[in-house]
Symmetry: C2
Subunit: 380 residues, 2 copies
């Protein structure tokens, strides 16, 4: 698996696409909205003297309504800031402009994103009569955020939601077969400690690299709001976590091996470029001389994309299982599955997975722990 | 026809795609290379004191090998400039970086462009050991260049090749049926003078708008190299010109009307958002207080994309006719034809068109006149 080539959400806007099945990610965006707003307000206030063009980048923007939602949220917060600003100099306020970069890997469906941007442009035109027009120029930026994406000190705000749990690659010693993951696709109960360590080390290396690269690209005082799946405790495995979800997914694949639909070797060589860290693991990697942590917290997001309730009861496990499998995970996993196993197994795999999730939900309502961290680049 | 939605080259990289059929456009890029190089060198020299990030934009970038060729040409010229520069300050040279924007309408196949950028990135990696690495960050920028695309004074170099003969729309009084074009799709011998005037006025309005917008976006002293199809003389119709090509194309459509495959009303309501101006018309619109004309000239490009010769002889008219129709014009016109007439007529239309071009070539070798103009924004 070549992450830069093969990793992307399901393209287009059809029934199985990410665009049509990203309600969980939308919920996370709504839950982290106050953190993002605060970061934008602080960035706006602290950059008053120097700004004319504010540069914003959404890393792992994907495609579909969530992509536009991020642009919309950032822009309306910036417009609010401009409106509330007590400036005697109207020209100064008017001259501000925003350059917005939507970043994702080259396999992302940028065509879909670009065609839907028309909706934002129409919005701009309607706004033109108001006192605060705030022009926004939106570009697409293909490339891995584990490489440099921007010139030095050119970005004011980085945002990334539901993307940074993806690693730059499957750990080498796992992808080259030196170690085996005992029929798991991520860290599961039967994963050997040596393999757990490989996943952890890949995370540490990637996350440190990510922070170093973004630090170079941010202006002094620039902000970064990162939301990604995490772990509730330091324990590697806890019920209701992301790990459990991938354990069920691995079990569905194992069923296909038993049925002779998937070769055992294929299964053994399939691991995810993924890691969900704990809050402490994240904190440990953020160097104080580079960033101030303005805010870090963990919240939970229901597995079922259609269940917005806070209650701990699953009303219809079978239906919830299907929602998790077909209206959420499939849009994320399909391209990786097709790339590794081929298209033929898709329907059966997600049918089996739905049934396993349903059974799992009979015992407990499952939630993904999500970490949101807001960082400020230290001025030197 | 909504130009911003419907106008784009044939997508993908299949047999009929623009990517596989843009040899004429490539030839124009090679012929204008010295003009572009000169503009880059001048821009490089004059911006030494102020630059750290050089911003370059290719307007109407389309997709396929030509898109990469432009990035490659600009980058290698900039690398040559950096290499030749006599600077005692190695750090100063090293800190320079390039942000490259590829612009086209939202219907352009940006996915194809982004996936092929990998070839450039690989090139970058190979270069890393050399003294002049010059990092290049490539973004895609969807939108019409008849609107603002960039923040004020943020671009150092605009480039546009084989795109600016496209207008922002078909003139209103033609698209709303106030005037009719006598079975032409562009200006033809039977086009009424009132309609010729509509096409001309649309060009004047669009080109003036284009220059005003880009002037706002360019830094003082910034450069602009524009290549587009033109007219050899002030006369509206001359043999061998773009107009003749579209007259033949209109005749092929008329044949389909006679055969009952296209409705007469459909044909009458089809006009191109297009205008090929003369050098004098272009000069007249460039305001001296905004731009200095560094260079303007007209050259010719064979109709047959596979004929690179300077000779005036067509060796095989039938084969050349097919080349013009199927290996050049089809990739440009197909999306517009599908949008207006549907897909069913495509093969027959281009077969008829090929035959007509072949007959036309029996009398003369046909060439497109092409204008290249290099502009420098006046410093205030």
């Amino acid at each position: 698996m070549k992450v830069e080539k093969d990793l992307h959400m399901s393209t287009g806007d059809g029934a199985n696409s990410y665009a049509a099945n990203s309600r969980i990610q939308k919920r996370a965006l709504l839950m982290t909205k106050p953190v993002l707003q605060k970061a934008i307000q602080d960035m706006y206030t602290s950059s008053i003297s120097s700004r004319s063009t504010v540069v914003v980048a959404d890393l792992g923007c994907s495609s579909g309504p969530n992509t536009l939602l991020v642009v919309d949220e950032v822009m309306s917060t910036l417009r609010d800031c401009a409106r509330e600003e007590e400036t005697t100099d109207e020209d100064d306020r008017r001259s501000m402009q925003v350059q917005f970069f939507l970043n994702d890997l080259p396999g992302n469906d940028f065509n879909l994103v670009f065609r839907s941007l028309q909706q934002l442009q129409d919005f701009d035109v309607e706004e033109e009569d108001e006192t605060v027009a705030l022009p926004c120029y939106v570009a697409g930026l293909p490339g891995s955020y584990y490489r440099r994406l921007f010139p030095c000190q050119s970005v004011h705000l980085f945002h990334s939601s539901y993307s940074l749990m993806w690693r730059s690659k499957v750990p080498d010693d796992l992808s080259n077969g030196t170690y085996l993951n005992e029929e798991n696709v991520y860290i599961g109960k039967t994963t050997p400690p040596s393999v757990v360590k490989l996943f952890q080390e890949q995370f540490q290396k990637d996350f440190k690299l990510f922070l170093t690269l973004r630090c170079k690209e941010l202006v002094g005082g620039g902000r970064m709001v990162l939301t990604f799946l995490g772990r509730k405790t330091e324990e590697m495995l806890t019920h209701g976590e992301v790990g459990s979800m991938y354990e069920l997914f691995a079990k569905a694949l194992q069923c296909l091996v038993q049925k002779g639909l998937v070769e055992k070797e294929k299964m053994n060589s399939f691991n995810l470029p993924y890691y969900a860290p704990s809050v402490d693991e994240v904190k440990a990697l953020i160097e104080e001389e580079l960033f101030d942590i303005e805010n870090i917290r963990l919240f939970e997001n229901n597995w079922d994309p259609l269940d917005d309730s806070d209650s701990d009861v699953v009303l219809d496990c079978a239906s919830s299982g299907r929602n998790v499998a077909n209206k959420s995970i499939r849009a994320v996993m399909e391209p990786l599955i097709i790339n590794h196993f081929g298209e033929a197994i898709l329907d059966e795999l997600f049918m089996l997975f739905a049934a396993m999730v349903a059974k799992y939900l009979e015992i407990r309502k499952a939630k993904y722990p999500v970490i949101v961290v807001s960082l400020k680049k230290v001025r030197h």
